[in-house]
C-alpha cells in the first residue's frame, strides 16, 4: 500500500514528499521523546536487572497468548480479508468449555494421579476446549459470515460485531454472571525460581505451546496440500476454484484452525490467569488484533512477532518510560502508530494490491 512508484512519478509528487516528510518528522519527534524519557527517567529509577528480566518474561507470556489469538485473526484475514471481530469470544468459549472439562476431570480425580495421567488429562481438557471453539467457529462462519462473502467489506465486520456481542451475552445468560475459576492441578501450579526471577509453569507452557503451534501452522500452510489450497484461495478465490480447489471447504478449515488455536489459548489462559467469564475474550481479542496488524495482517510470522513485541512493550514500556502502568495500552497503540508510519503494512506485511487492503 505504499504508493506505487508509477503513480508517484505520474502526479502529485510535491504532495507525496511533503506528506512523507511530515510523517517522518512526526515519527522522529516521538522517537526522540521516547529515548529522552527512557534515559532520563526510566533508567534513572535504577531497577535491578532481575526486574527487567522478569518483566520481559511476563511480556513474552502475554505475547504468547496474544500470538495464539492473533494467528486466528491473521489466518482468517489472509483468506477472507475480513476481520473476525468475534474471534476473542471464540477464545473465551474455549476457556469456558475447558473449565467444565476441568471440573469433570477433578470430580473423577484424574488430576491427583501420577504425572502421566495428569498430563493426559490436561491435554484432554485442552482438546475439549479446542473442540468447543472449533464448533463455535464453524457455526459462526456458516451463519454469520458465509452469506456475506460477496458483500462490501464493512458488512461482515458489523455482522462479526453482532456475533461477538451475541456470544458474550449468550454465555452470560447460559452460564451465569459469576466468573469461573480454574483450579490449577499441583503439577502446573507454582513455577521455577532463578534468583530473583520467577517463571510460572503455566507461563512457560503458554510460551512454548504458542511457538510450537505457530511452527505447526507455518508447516501446514507452507508444506502441505491443504496449505497450498489455502494460499491459492487467499491469492484469488475465483481462480482457485477453477483450479479444482473447494473454496468453501478451505474457508471452513481455515476457521477450524484459527478457532482451535483460540480454544487452546482460552484454556491455557484459563490456567494461567485462573478466571474465565463472559467478557474475558474481548480485551485479549482486541490486543491480538492489534498484534496481527502490527506484524502485518495476513502474515503468520508477522502475527507471532507482532504479538510478542506487543506483549513485551506492554510489560516493559511503562517502567522504561517511568509512567504509570495504566498507560500500557497508550504505549502499545502509540507503538503501533509509529511502526505503521514507517511501515504502513506492518512489520512483515507484504505490499498487497490495493483492492485487498
Amino acid at each position: 500500500m505504499a504508493p506505487s512508484r508509477l503513480t508517484a512519478q505520474a502526479a502529485g509528487v510535491n504532495g507525496k514528499t511533503a506528506l512523507r516528510f511530515l510523517l517522518r518528522a512526526f515519527g522522529a519527534a516521538i522517537l526522540v521523546l521516547v529515548i529522552w524519557r527512557v534515559t532520563t527517567v526510566g533508567l534513572a529509577e535504577g531497577y535491578p536487572a532481575s526486574f527487567w528480566i522478569s518483566q520481559a518474561l511476563n511480556g513474552l507470556v502475554l505475547g504468547g497468548v496474544y500470538a495464539l489469538v492473533a494467528l486466528g485473526y491473521t489466518l482468517v484475514y489472509g483468506i477472507l480479508f475480513m476481520i473476525n471481530f468475534a474471534h476473542g469470544e471464540v477464545m473465551m468459549i474455549g476457556g469456558i468449555a475447558g473449565f467444565f472439562a476441568l471440573q469433570f476431570s477433578q470430580s473423577r480425580g484424574w488430576l491427583e494421579g501420577p504425572w502421566p495421567v495428569v498430563v493426559v488429562a490436561l491435554l484432554l481438557i485442552m482438546l475439549f476446549g479446542m473442540a468447543a471453539s472449533v464448533l463455535i467457529g464453524i457455526t459462526l462462519e456458516r451463519l454469520a459470515y458465509r452469506p456475506l462473502r460477496q458483500a462490501p467489506r464493512l458488512v461482515p465486520l458489523i455482522s462479526a460485531i453482532g456475533a461477538s456481542l451475541f456470544l458474550q451475552y449468550s454465555v452470560l445468560l447460559i452460564f451465569g454472571v459469576s466468573p469461573h475459576s480454574y483450579r490449577k492441578p499441583a503439577l502446573i501450579s507454582g513455577g521455577m525460581r532463578m534468583g530473583d526471577v520467577f517463571i510460572p509453569y503455566t507461563g512457560a507452557i503458554i510460551f512454548i505451546t504458542s511457538i510450537l503451534l505457530m511452527l505447526a501452522l507455518y508447516f501446514i500452510i507452507q508444506r502441505t496440500k491443504l496449505g497450498r489450497a489455502m494460499r491459492a484461495v487467499a491469492e484469488d478465490r475465483a481462480t482457485a476454484s477453477l483450479m479444482g480447489v473447494d473454496v468453501n471447504a478451505v474457508i471452513v478449515i481455515t476457521f477450524m484452525l484459527g478457532s482451535a488455536l483460540a480454544g487452546a489459548a482460552g484454556v491455557m489462559l484459563g490456567f494461567h490467569n485462573t478466571v474465565v467469564k463472559f467478557n474475558s475474550g474481548f480485551v485479549p481479542g482486541l490486543k491480538a488484533f492489534t498484534a496481527a496488524v502490527l506484524g502485518g495482517i495476513g502474515n503468520i510470522p508477522g502475527a507471532m512477532f507482532g504479538a510478542l513485541i506487543l506483549g513485551l512493550i506492554e510489560a516493559i514500556g511503562p517502567s522504561a518510560l517511568g509512567i504509570p502502568t495504566e498507560y500500557k495500552d497508550v504505549i502499545a497503540f502509540t507503538l503501533l502508530v509509529l511502526i505503521l508510519i514507517f511501515r504502513p503494512t506492518g512489520l512483515f506485511g507484504e505490499v498487497l494490491s490495493e483492492k485487498k487492503a
Binding site: A11, G12, P147, N248, F289, E326, P344
Partner: protein, 639 residues
Amino acid sequence: MTPVSANGAIRNGLIAFAFLGYLILIGIPGRLGGSALPVLALVAALFFWVKLRFDAPDTGGAGLPGGSAEGKPGWQIGAPGQSSGRGVGALFPGRGGTLVLRHGLLAGVTTGLLIAGMSLAFASAIGSGASIQPVLDKIVPVNVGALIGVSPGQIANDDVPLFRYPLQVLFFTVAGLFAALAAVAARARNLQTTSMARLSAYLDSLPFRTTARFAGIALPFLLLAYIVWLGIPGVSAFGSNEGTVRLLFTLIATGSGLFAIRLAHPGREQKIVALLLALGVLTMPFILDQFQNSVMGLVFIFVMMGLGLNIVVGYAGLLDLGYVAFFAIGAYTYAFLSAPFSSPYISNLLNLLGISPEIPLLGYWTALPVAMLTAAIGGILLGIPVLRLRGDYLAIVTLGFGEIIRLFMLNLGELTNGPRGILEISQPGLFGLPPQSFSSGLLSSQGWIFLVALVSSAVVAFVAIRLNDSRLGRAWFAMQEDEDVAEATGVHLVRTKLLAFAIGATFAGMAGQLYASRQINIFPENFSLFVSIDALALIIVGGIGSPAGIVLGALALKGLPEVLRGVDEYRIVTFAALLVIMMIVRPAGILPSARRRVQVSPTDEQGPTTAAEERENDASLPAQGPPARPEDARSEEPA
C-alpha cells in the same frame, strides 16, 4: 431421493432443536410460564415451514446442502444452485406431497424427542438434587417446569407424570406436520410459480401502486396522530408498558416518514410531504413524555454522530473505529467550559487571565464553536499520522486513538477529574433563559434537548448533503474508489483526507457537546469503544452514505434497545442477533444511498456479479426485503 430427504429432515429437526435448546438454556420458557410449550412448538413449526418452503427442493437437487459455492463457479461449470428451485417446485405436486409430509413428521419427531430427552435429563437431575444451577444458570425448576408443563414444585420433588414427555414429543410432531401441510398446501395451489407472478403483476398495477403510495405517505401522519392520542390521560395502549409502546410508535413514525418522502414524487409533492413531516417531527418534543423525549434526544445525537462518521467512512472511505474520540473531545470541552469542576491547570490559566474560574465560562451556544474547533483540531491531529494507512490498518490505528483519548481522560485526573467525571454541566438555554421558562411548561428539559438535537442534526444533515454534492464530495468519492487514480486526476490527497477527518470530527464534537449537556454528568466510561461501534453500526445498518439511512439506523440502534427494555436481560442478545440477521438480509442497509445503489460493490475484489450484489443493486425496494435465498432462510433462524 428419499434417503437424502430423510437425512435432511433429521438435520432440520436437529437445527430446530439447537435453536430451541438455546432458548431453553437462556431461560425463555421460565419467562413464558404456562404457554411455554405451545410457543416453542409454534417457533419450531415456523422454522420447519420456512425450511420446507425454501429448502426442500434443494434436497433433491444439489446433493450436499449448501454445497454450491455461493454462485462462484465451483466444481461444475455453469450456474449452480439457481436452477433447482423452480424446476423441482414444478415437479412437486406429482408425488412430492407425501414426501413433504414425511419430511415434516420426521423433523418434528426428531425435535420433539430431543427436547423431551433434554427436559427429562434436567428434571431428573433437579429432582435428584444434583446441582445443575451453578453450571447452567437458567436451568432452575421454574424454567424446566414451564418447559414440561408442570409446576416448579413438581420438578423439585421429582414427581413429574411420565406422560408429559410423550406429550412434548406430540407437540413438536404436530408442529412439524402442520408446517409440512402448510407448505404442501401452498405448493398445491401453485403459489410458488404462478401466483407469485400474479402477485407481482398486481403489485405493479397502477391503482395498487397509487394506493400503496398514498398509504405509505399517510402512515407517518396516522402514527403521529396515534401517538398524540396515546398522550391523552386515561388512554392506554397495551397494558402497563405504555411509555415503551408509545416510544415504539414514535420511532416507527419517524422512520416511516423517511420512506414517505421517498415515496412522494420528486418536486413539489416531495417538498410538501417533507415540510409537513418536518413540522410533525418538530411538534414531537412538545407531545412526548420525558422518557420518550430523552430517548429521541439520544437518537438524534447519534444521528449527528452518524452523519459525521458517514463523511469519513461513507464519503471518503476511511474506516474509522475511534470516532468516539471526537465525541469525547466535544463533550469534555463543553464540560470544561460550563461545569463548576475546573482542573488546577485551567484554573491557574484563568487566574492568569484575570477571570474567576468559579462561574461557567461560556454558555451552550457560545461554547459550540469552541467545541467544534477543538474536535476539528483533534481530527487533524489524528489524520496526520494515518494519512498513508488504508483499510484495516487505518481501522486499528483509529481504534487505538479512541482508546488513547479515553485512557487519558481516565488517568489525567488533574485535568479531567479521572473516573469521577465532570458533574453539573449546564443546559443549553435560549437567549440566556432555561427552556422551561419560555415554553410555559410545554417543553420539558429533555424535550428541549430533543428539539436542539433535532435542529442541530437538520443543520448537520444539510451541510453533509451539500458537501457530498460539492467538489470536495466528488473528490472524497474519487478517493474512496481509488486513491492513486484520484491523485493522478488532480485530487490533493492530504488536504482531502484531512478535511474529511476534520469535518467528521466537527460534527462529532457538536454531538458530544449536546450529549454532555443531556447527561449533565459525564464520565470517561461514557466514551468507550462501544460508542464508536454503535456509530459505525448505525450508518451501516441504515445504509452507508445515505443521510436518511443514518436516521433510520439511529432509530433502530439507539431507539429499539430502549423499546426492548421490557425484556431487560435479553436486550443485548436480541439486539446482537438482529444486527447479524439484518446484515445478512439487507447488506446494503435499510435505506441505501442513491450513489451506492448505482455502483457495484466498490471495495470488493473483482468477482462475478452474484446474488448478493444483485440484491444490493435492487435494494431500492423500500419496504420488504428481496426474496431470501436458501442460505438466508437457513441462517436467519438459529442466529
